[in-house]
């Protein structure tokens, strides 16, 4: 069955609110909010607001239950063993930093942490900081010329001193999807913890996170059609039970005296203070809504669009694509350069056609360096994109080339 894109678009409020032409192709930066998430957010903030976890009056009780249900919905979307494996956070970046702090004690001087040149800064800087705090070494797997993780370096990259491996599940620049199985196997061999940055994978359908072989998995609500302000970090239950807290404050304790504190069990131990309740409810609503979609049809749709885009770019003079051509090895995140034209000028002219794309280093400067460039243009797809979006982009690019090259 093919996807009814027009129907799907009606589930995203922005398409009736932005005047046409509006071709939103910056989904890797942030997705648009789905109606289910927007309703959950607005209903809570404007009609049902109370703080969670402690109040006994009905308004608070309902907010607490809704918050627990949001956690359960996210857990189900991820395929977690249970909601208690899901820490609600403010986003992927926070989740990865939390990971780098709670895993700190496992890293000794001289140990190594392995990342890759494909990573988003959010999956580089926290590990760099951790390595510095502990006197450990940070290594990075290379990328192939077409922007995939180069697994050739895996055996040498992971050895007995490797305590942590932190890799992206899907590149936010090239769209390349990481084959986690061999990495997980190798990490297990040496007893390293595998952290996965799932920010770009999660908008493309439900997961079975427990079968990926990783130990931690970070994601953002705003990239999966929820609201800004919330995210989650899944941690395998056995590991989570052992980890120390990160931030201190309300809600993560069982008993506080001035001298010492007894911490609550997971996941609460890792959630200090009033959580981003509205955004978390929105993320839960998005997860529940996404879980009901026909992902086989969506995948086919996204592939068709990605192919149309790649082929269209190939036909344009002076356009160079960074990323794999094999549609099975990638999602619809497409980075390219127009020879002799600065990425920001490209994006600005495209905006004149109502086409929203991103130019710059995409918080992936080591990857830019590997590509020998500073900035690229990126078009990134979501289920609600349609052929007209691709065609508007390609038409805009023809204009760019005509006037600027």
């Amino acid at each position: 069955m093919s996807l009814d894109v027009a129907a799907l678009r009606r589930s995203f409020p922005i398409f009736s609110r932005q005047p046409p032409p509006f071709h939103y192709l910056d989904n890797a930066a942030t997705g648009q909010i789905c109606a289910a998430a927007a309703e959950a957010l607005t209903a809570y903030e404007t009609a049902g607001r109370a703080n969670v976890k402690r109040g006994v009056y009905r308004l608070a009780d309902r907010a607490t239950s809704a918050f627990a249900e949001a956690r359960a919905r996210i857990a189900r979307y991820l395929g977690a063993a249970g909601p208690e494996e899901v820490i609600l956070t403010s986003g992927t970046t926070f989740g990865l930093n939390l990971a780098a702090h709670v895993l700190e004690e496992r890293v000794r001087a001289g140990d190594t942490i392995l990342i890759s040149r494909l990573e988003h800064h959010s999956n580089i800087v926290p590990w760099q900081m951790l390595a510095k705090r502990r006197g450990a070494r940070l290594r990075a797997l290379d990328v192939t010329a077409d922007g995939r993780l180069d697994l050739a370096g895996l055996d040498a990259g992971i050895d007995r001193r490797t305590r942590i491996v932190a890799l992206t599940h899907c590149s936010n620049v090239t769209g390349a999807v990481t084959d986690l199985a061999p990495i997980a196997a190798r990490a297990r061999e040496v007893g390293a913890v595998l952290v996965v940055d799932g920010a770009q994978r999660v908008p493309h359908g439900p997961l079975e996170v427990t079968t990926l072989g990783c130990d931690l998995y970070a994601l953002s609500g705003h990239k999966m059609f929820g609201a800004t302000g919330a995210g989650a970090l899944w941690v395998r239950g056995e590991l989570l039970a052992e980890l120390p807290p990160f931030l201190g404050g309300g809600e993560m304790i069982t008993r506080v005296t001035i001298e010492e504190t007894a911490y609550a069990p997971p996941p609460h131990r890792f959630e200090a203070g009033t959580p981003p309740i509205g955004p978390a409810l929105a993320m839960g609503a998005a997860a529940a809504w996404l879980a009901e979609l026909d992902w086989r049809a969506i995948a086919a749709h996204e592939k068709t669009l990605t192919a149309r885009l790649l082929e269209g770019l190939d036909r344009l003079p002076g356009v160079r694509i960074h990323g794999p051509r094999d549609l099975e090895a990638r999602y619809g995140v497409v980075a390219f350069e127009v020879e002799g034209v600065h990425a920001h000028d490209v994006c600005q002219i495209l905006d004149g056609f109502g086409v929203c794309t991103r130019g710059g280093h995409h918080c992936a400067q080591p990857l830019m360096e590997a590509f020998g460039t500073v900035a690229t243009v990126r078009a990134s797809l979501a289920p609600y994109n349609e052929e007209a979006d691709i065609d508007a982009l390609l038409e805009g690019l023809e204009r760019v080339i005509r006037i600027l090259r």
């Binding site: 402690r54 006994v56 009056y57 009905r58 608070a60 009780d61 607490t64 069982t254 008993r255």
Partner: protein, 142 residues
């Protein structure tokens, strides 16, 4: 109305709880806290021939915890650990809003709590404590 929670039978049960005391000769004693509010039950258990011989407790808690502790303490002696576990399970089901009569009919006083999820823990605390005591007792026996 959540004030239905405070009907006569709950209030009376809670009052009885305040008169129930600790056991002089306990086989196992456990202490359990309610993380919501810092409430605490210290519960004593004595088994005989694999059956519950006596229960005692000191409860610093809300009316719901007290009432649950009272019913438990009145009902448990003479029963088997299985019955006790069954009562705990029935109570959980009742709080989850399921139909059906609990093995101890008195537990039906907690039906109005169904709607107030944040108080379920208050009702369950004494039952969790006794399960922990049973587990500890069988651990010691083995």
């Amino acid at each position: 109305m959540t004030s239905d929670l405070y009907h006569r039978r709950i209030i009376e049960a809670a009052k009885r709880a305040r008169e129930q005391g600790r056991l002089a000769a306990a086989e196992v004693t456990v202490t359990r806290d309610n993380p919501l509010c810092g409430d605490r039950i210290t519960l004593d258990l004595r088994l005989e021939d694999g059956r519950i011989a006596a229960l005692g407790h000191r409860t610093r808690g809300c009316l719901l915890t007290e009432a649950a502790a009272a019913i438990l303490t009145e009902r448990a002696p003479g029963t088997s650990p299985e019955t006790l576990r069954r009562a705990h399970r029935d109570l959980r089901r009742l709080l989850a809003g399921e139909e059906g009569d609990p093995v101890w009919p008195e537990l039906a006083v907690f039906r109005p709590v169904v709607e107030v999820k944040s108080r379920h823990e208050c009702v369950l605390l004494p039952f969790e404590a006794v399960e922990e005591a049973l587990a500890a007792a069988s651990g010691e026996a083995s």
